[in-house]
């Protein structure tokens, strides 16, 4: 099965300038945006699932990236969201640096393999420095999507 991250990320789930500076507020901003665009049915439950994960692990993976994620039935299908923060958000990354590129992934509980594959693909994609640089410079959601499409394998 070939999973394409770009197929699960919609332009309306992309926030080019995140306002929040703190982790829980940043998650709320992402979730609220997804609720507003009807990608998530139960925003409160979804946010609780994400916060629970954040307490157990550092989803800030270093190099200015955070990938908060959760499996929860608050979502109906595998979904992705993206936010960019100029100031950075403290996601307790192991390198101590704030996260500027924040990708959120969620899937229903019964879609574990898709969820794991999406996390793996995204992590591999974001290890590429040139992709991180392009995402930092992108000027609109369509450009973000094109960068992902061009660089995912």
């Amino acid at each position: 099965m070939v999973l394409k991250i770009s197929e699960f990320l919609r332009p309306e789930a992309i926030i080019m300038q995140m306002k929040s500076r703190e982790k829980i507020a940043a998650l709320k901003e992402l979730v609220d945006n997804m609720v507003a665009h009807e990608a998530v049915e139960n925003g409160e439950e979804f946010q609780k699932a994400l916060a629970k994960r954040e307490n157990l692990e550092s989803t800030g993976i270093g190099d200015g990236i955070a990938i908060p994620h959760a499996r929860t039935d608050a979502v109906k299908d595998l979904i992705l969201a993206f936010a960019r923060s100029a100031e950075g958000v403290d996601f307790s990354a192991i390198d101590g640096k704030p996260s500027h590129l924040i990708f959120l992934i969620a899937s229903p509980i019964n879609k574990k393999s898709e969820y794991i594959m999406a996390l793996a693909k995204l992590s591999r994609l974001l290890r590429k420095q040139e992709v991180r640089q392009l995402l930092k410079k992108a000027s609109n959601p369509e450009e973000v999507l094109n960068i992902i499409k061009k660089n995912e394998e």
């Binding site: 692990e57 693909k121 992590s123």
Partner: protein, 131 residues
């Protein structure tokens, strides 16, 4: 006995069979779990020669499998209430593990019993547990 921070070292998708034991050990000792998958550069060259496949293709496959394994472990550890931190690095496992021991103050190394474990047993400054 206290083991605050443990590093589980993986170099191969076949190392999956030791992950449950690692999670159980962390649960028992209430340890934080660092999970490190090393994409071994030497192994990729050897595999490329043996299989006649391109190194780059093999690297992508191993890296993808590595990330999948890391997130599978995280999912298990999460259910057990264990704090985790995932890492994927390119290079030589023994060298990278030593770097992690120094950087994060790891108390013990968990590794599958094979050649890398033997090398770590003799050179590590913290206990190495072969699973």
């Amino acid at each position: 006995m206290k083991i605050k921070k443990v590093i589980l070292v993986l170099t191969d998708i076949n190392d999956q069979d030791i992950t449950q034991a690692a999670v159980q050990l962390c649960k028992r000792f209430k340890s934080k779990l660092f999970v490190l998958f090393v994409v071994e550069t030497g192994r990729i060259s050897r595999l490329a020669r043996l299989t006649q496949k391109k190194s780059d293709t093999l690297r992508k496959k191993i890296e993808d499998e590595g990330w999948q394994l890391l997130y599978l472990i995280e999912d298990d550890a999460d259910k057990a209430g264990i704090w985790t931190s995932l890492h994927l690095e390119d290079g030589i496992a023994t060298t990278i593990v030593k770097k992690y021991i120094d950087a994060y103050g790891v108390d013990a190394v968990l590794i599958k019993r094979k050649n890398e474990a033997t090398r770590l047993f003799v050179s590590s400054t913290v206990p190495v547990i072969g699973l």
